[in-house]
């Protein structure tokens, strides 16, 4: 486990020449092992059920999917890195930090809702926000807003699969949730880690 970057935000004046804390850990971790075991077991089950053809069919389909996603992953990583470099720590911690109040949660929500791309954008950018001084509450609002009211997934997948009526009502019902989740996150965080609160 690496240290959280948000514990020691670098002072704003030397932010440009100080190396950014590593946001991404070493490529092999326990989550990778869990997934690898799950995949191996599932692939074996598919092989026993459908034979080698079933295994290859899924493999070619998923390889194509992987090839399509790869450039977007690069775009997401670059977006996160650029945002971490250009956003001033001081300003971010003022507008999205622990004392940013409802306004910070609303900014996080709006940011999550307009953020383009999929998980390959949202998580690097959210991580960059944590690095430059946003608190857990505002970042939770951003991530939850991106998953629930972000237009990317709704347009690409939910509308065609679930239909317009369901999708629109689902989004309307979801509108208050990011701010509530961020507020709850902030509320719990301050009580769980009293020392981290300023």
């Amino acid at each position: 486990m690496s240290e959280l970057p948000l514990k020691d935000p670098a002072p704003a004046d030397d932010a440009t020449d100080e190396p950014r804390p590593g946001r991404i850990r070493k490529p092999i971790g326990w989550s990778m092992i869990v997934i690898a075991v799950l995949v191996a077991v599932s692939a074996t089950l598919v092989w026993r059920r459908d034979g080698i053809d079933g295994v290859l069919e899924i493999l070619t389909h998923d390889l194509a999917l992987f090839g399509g996603i790869l450039p977007r992953v690069l775009a997401g990583c670059l977006l996160g890195a650029f945002i971490a470099e250009i956003l001033p720590h001081e300003k971010v911690s003022r507008s999205l930090g622990p004392n940013s109040g409802l306004k910070g949660l609303l900014i996080g929500t709006a940011f999550g809702a307009i953020l383009p791309g999929g998980p390959f954008t949202a998580y690097p950018v959210a991580s960059a926000l944590l690095t430059v001084g946003a608190d857990f509450g505002a970042t939770i609002a951003m991530v939850v807003s991106w998953t629930l009211i972000g237009y990317g997934r709704a347009i690409a997948w939910e509308l065609p699969i679930m239909g317009t009526d369901f999708t629109l009502w689902r989004i309307v019902i979801s509108l208050p949730l990011p701010v509530l989740a961020g507020a709850l996150g902030r509320f719990v965080y301050i009580r769980m880690y009293p020392k981290a609160a300023p």
Binding site: R23, V46, A126, W157, M162
Partner: protein
């Protein structure tokens, strides 16, 4: 088509923030590009495993198991089942929404399906492990997932109260 539009918005955003970085100085630009590229290289093996593997995981989990108990008369037990099913659903957006659509077509109650889709969006285990943990501090991820727990229930309650969709 919509995928193309999203790609264009995505790369335009990259270009816009890249331009701002370039205006701040070449050093900032090159640092950011190097950092972003390193992140990319580190993340690719995980994504390869997850994306290529998720098809197998989705193929062995029977859909009926996930969509079985979400009928309109299932009430709060149905909502609870939907939340657990949402968290357990493997695969990408196609899988999650397809199962939701199957549940709706098979007679699932809208509040239950809302709870399912929202639970899946908020804390599907595979997305947490594959996407969120690699990119973000683990402590944040678990904290966020825990904080998100009440919200599928709240959404189902709102859906029941307004009688929509």
């Amino acid at each position: 088509m919509s995928a193309l539009i999203i790609d264009i918005i995505l790369w335009a955003s990259v270009a816009a923030v890249g331009f701002i970085a370039w205006q701040r100085g070449r050093l900032i630009l090159t640092t950011a590009v190097r950092e972003g590229s390193m992140d990319f290289i580190n993340i690719v093996p995980r994504i390869a495993l997850g994306v290529i593997g998720s098809g197998y995981i989705a193929a062995v989990i029977p859909q009926e198991v996930i969509t079985g108990w979400l009928g309109p008369d299932s009430g709060w037990l149905g909502v609870l089942t939907a939340v657990i099913a949402g968290a357990a659903t493997p695969g990408g957006p196609v899988d999650g929404f397809s199962l939701g659509a199957v549940a709706l077509k098979a007679g699932g109650g809208p509040p239950q399906v809302i709870a399912y889709v929202i639970a899946w969006a908020l804390f599907a285990f595979q997305r947490l492990l594959l996407w969120e943990i690699p990119f973000m501090p683990a402590r944040f991820v678990w904290f966020r997932a825990a904080v998100s727990l009440p919200f599928p229930f709240l959404a189902a309650a709102i859906a029941m109260a307004i009688g929509r969709p």
